[in-house]
Symmetry: C2
Subunit: 202 residues, 2 copies
Amino acid sequence: MQAEDRRVQIISRSTDLFLEQGFAGTSMSMIAKRCGITKASLYHHFNGKDELFVACVTSGYQRALDALTEIIAQADRPAGQKLAEAMTVLYDITISSSVGRMSPLIAEVSRTFPNVARSFHSEYIAPQQDLVWNLIEAGQASGEFKDLDRGLLFHMLFGPIVTLSLSREMFSTFDDLDEHFPVGHLRDGHLNVILGMLRKDR
Amino acid sequence: MQAEDRRVQIISRSTDLFLEQGFAGTSMSMIAKRCGITKASLYHHFNGKDELFVACVTSGYQRALDALTEIIAQADRPAGQKLAEAMTVLYDITISSSVGRMSPLIAEVSRTFPNVARSFHSEYIAPQQDLVWNLIEAGQASGEFKDLDRGLLFHMLFGPIVTLSLSREMFSTFDDLDEHFPVGHLRDGHLNVILGMLRKDR
DNA sequence: GTCTATATCACGATAGAC
DNA sequence: GTCTATCGTGATATAGAC
């Protein structure tokens, strides 16, 4: 297999394993086996486990951010409607995409590799918040939204989503997972609360 | 040292280590050294690493729940005021106490030991939610609060708190941590949003 | 680019003396 | 209750042939 294709495959398979078993719980042997090669071949493509993990975290950033950018860039539509679509995307990428589900993992390794947490923040969290804030400011400029503390808005907007993702990871063995944590229902109610915070009273 | 004292010491020290290094990242040797004994002595008190970890998670439950119970049981006072105090306690135990900070850890081990996640939910999360819900129902009975979907309320109430705790763990190496995540400020704004959801409109 | 073979080390856990 | 000594395993990582 070509080197680049192999790299992509390794990142994909090892991301799955890290999500399943955690960082320390995933060994290079397991990764090699999952890719159908030996450990020595694996080390030909990545110098070590740390480097591979960083590649896994980093590779998911752009795709997730692109989906958000697309919504912000759309032709003029009510900010409330854009926000509704943005929140749908945020729920999707936080709960279903690898980069969103990696938050607890990054917390796990952040003490050992503080750089991972820093890059996660500066290359993913901060740009994501900036994109959402652009949307909010557009709504304020058009008079649809009122002024609101940025930190508080993100606390109320991202907080429930990230916790929902964490809960679903944590209790993934529950057979009534969707009953305990019904994503669509919670997202709709959440959106209404956020709109209530943003919309000018009467 | 007496067996019981030693057990307590081991649980305390190993809880710190698990929080610092994760489950797989913490070895029995590290724990023994931190306690000033050898590995063999450690195994005299706990049959294995799993058992020790479960003891760490479990030992924090009751203290955290007691603090909440105290508030609910207080003499009659406006439900809004009780809720404000309950949220202060929830922020404290989720962000500062070991059991609150253990959520990402439990997510890490939940695949390998599903029982840990189940016990965490049934012995800590569910009772905590029941206590808060008692408070809400009292407010509804007195006419102070309106009806509200239980799942949505918990989504909006616990979500931001748990995520704030996770973020502070994840970015604990940031030197401007309290500037990025000002607990008191976010808690006050959060309370107002929750009260806005619960209070009857004019 | 992939392999076999191996070096080196730390892990969880145990045996048995005191 | 704590110790020294050790077993067996699996971890990261490398050497060198093809």
